[in-house]
């Protein structure tokens, strides 16, 4: 609880800091929104041309797309500090992190709170609005609960990928760009229904990095669509549950990496 309190204070200070340059912040917010929004616009243009995608209509893809955007947006909000781990290690700054009486995990996480990423989250909300406008979904209580759980689970999986990427730096020192394949690449991939991909890609994003389980399957349930891949119905509810599991693995890798840490001595 104590460390949570510390995290809150540090993030508060970050937000106040970022708000000092109001115009700059607003421009960044608009920039972040517009980059993300152009991708949504591209999807809409494709559907305008083609009408449907492997049995999915535009509203259905927009729902999936919005879910992914929200999950990724929330994870980006808090995960940016981990992008700096490689610099911390190279500069010998991680020594200092280790001497402080706050868990390193929290220190790194609170070192950067990317408020401008709200732009991406806002674009996710726009996508959901478009989806609802097209689909007029009835949204039962269970649906809403499942959808919120799916957003949280997606955010956790994205966050875990970044955490693993940061942990790998303890061995390699350099940041490995392969992480981008799973974060930015993953966002692109799971924004479309999983059944359009071949078996290899599907397996990688269902069972290795379980993004498909936290996005595609819950959305199938909410849309009340059958699974063309023939997985059992309960997977839609079980899917989001794998996120905490994946996070534990990521945390374990992070801990192992930290134990492996060797100061650069500079």
């Amino acid at each position: 609880m104590d460390s949570l309190f510390v995290y809150g204070r540090l993030v508060g200070a970050q937000i106040r800091g970022q708000m000092q340059y109001r115009v700059s912040f607003l421009l960044q917010l608009v920039g972040s929104f517009s980059i993300a929004f152009s991708e949504l616009l591209a999807v809409l243009i494709l559907f305008r041309t083609f009408g449907e995608m492997a049995g999915w209509r535009v509203g259905e893809v927009a729902l999936l797309y919005g879910l992914v955007a929200l999950g990724f947006g929330f994870s980006e909000l808090v995960s940016e500090g981990f992008d700096d781990v490689s610099i911390l290690i190279r500069m010998g700054e991680f020594d200092r992190v280790l001497t402080r009486p706050v868990p390193p995990f929290l220190q790194v996480m609170s070192s950067r709170f990317a408020l401008r990423r709200i732009g991406r989250i806002a674009h996710g909300v726009v996508a959901l609005g478009i989806a609802q406008w097209w689909l007029r979904l009835p949204w039962s209580g269970v649906d809403i609960l499942l959808f919120v759980a799916a957003i949280a689970a997606t955010a956790i999986v994205f966050f875990s990928v970044v955490l693993i990427g940061a942990a790998i730096c303890f061995w390699t020192t350099e940041r490995t760009e392969v992480q981008n394949v799973f974060t930015y690449g993953g966002t692109e991939l799971v924004s479309y229904p999983m059944h359009i991909y071949n078996r290899w890609l599907r397996s990688a994003f269902l069972w290795l990095v379980p993004l498909g389980l936290t996005t595609y399957y819950p959305v199938l349930r909410i849309l009340d669509k059958g699974d063309p891949l023939g997985q059992p119905r309960w997977l839609s509810y079980a899917g989001p549950l794998v996120a905490p599991l994946f996070f534990s693995v990521a945390l374990l890798i992070w801990r192992t990496g930290m134990n492996h840490y060797q100061s650069t001595g500079s």
């Binding site: 083609f50 995608m53 359009i196």
Partner: protein
């Protein structure tokens, strides 16, 4: 001229030093290529052709655009803005070469490196994984190369103009975000301009951004041939002229107000 060639060569070699980073970037470009290919494979199940693009054209479009990212697009490149912010710009301005020429030759060296080490392998990977359309005429390759060269210069000018706003504002990230959006969209990078609604398409095809992806793409797919293709090349060349002039004028305005603080 020799000085500029030399600077381009040094820049080429500087980028060659980061081999691992290039391989990782290649993996990322190719991954996106694979995902986008599956998206088009799924879309074309509904109809065999759209706006003159068949499946083969669409797949080729995906891989050529992915391959062109590093030679012409390079999002978020803020090196000049950074040098304005920390004051290094002064030593660059006092070099006995044109400031614009200095950065342009450096950037073309960079593009040259990425044509060889990113464009070629990305396209090759795409060709291994998916059926792609190859230009029927050998001359198409020559016109395509010319078009890509001009695309790289247009891409550089757009970025130069964004970076140089750093003389007036100290934080160019916001403007950069908007510019990245424009570049992503209006170049025809995320979707071919042909798929835009008619009015938007007409505007986008006129703007300089079309010269970065859409026009080279058009030439590669041999959608325009003969005089129509020459027209596209002329359009590109005109925009190159206008943009280089704009860079000159912006730079002149910026250096007039530049104040050097001692130290």
């Amino acid at each position: 001229m020799i000085r500029y060639l030399e600077m381009a060569r040094v820049s080429y070699r500087r980028h060659r030093a980061y081999r691992a980073a290039n391989v990782a970037g290649l993996a990322t470009n190719a991954f996106f290529g694979v995902v986008r290919s599956f998206v088009f494979l799924a879309l074309y199940r509904a109809r065999p052709e759209a706006e003159g693009y068949d499946l083969l054209d669409a797949l080729t479009y995906v891989w050529v655009t992915q391959a062109l990212i590093m030679p012409v697009m390079h999002w978020g490149w803020l090196e000049i803005a950074q040098s304005i912010r920390d004051g290094d710009v002064i030593s660059d301005l006092s070099k006995p070469v044109s400031y614009l020429g200095y950065w342009l030759s450096r950037d073309l060296g960079r593009s040259g490196y990425y044509v060889l080490c990113r464009f070629v392998p990305t396209l090759f990977l795409g060709w291994l994984l998916f059926p792609l359309r190859q230009p029927e005429h050998l001359t198409t390759w020559i016109f395509f190369a010319l078009s890509v060269l001009m695309a790289a210069i247009i891409g550089f000018c757009v970025l130069f103009l964004i970076n140089i706003t750093g003389f007036w504002t100290t934080d160019v990230r916001g403007i950069n975000g908007l510019a990245v959006t424009a570049v992503n969209f209006l170049t025809g990078f995320i979707v071919p301009l042909e798929f835009f609604p008619p009015a938007a398409r007409a505007i986008a095809e006129f703007l300089p951004f079309a010269g970065m992806i859409s026009i080279p793409m058009n030439i590669f797919l041999e959608r325009s041939t003969g005089l129509a293709m020459l027209g596209l090349l002329v359009q590109q060349a005109l925009w190159v002229g206008v943009l280089v002039l704009a860079c000159h004028m912006m730079l002149a305005a910026a250096t007039r107000k530049l104040v050097v603080q001692g130290g």
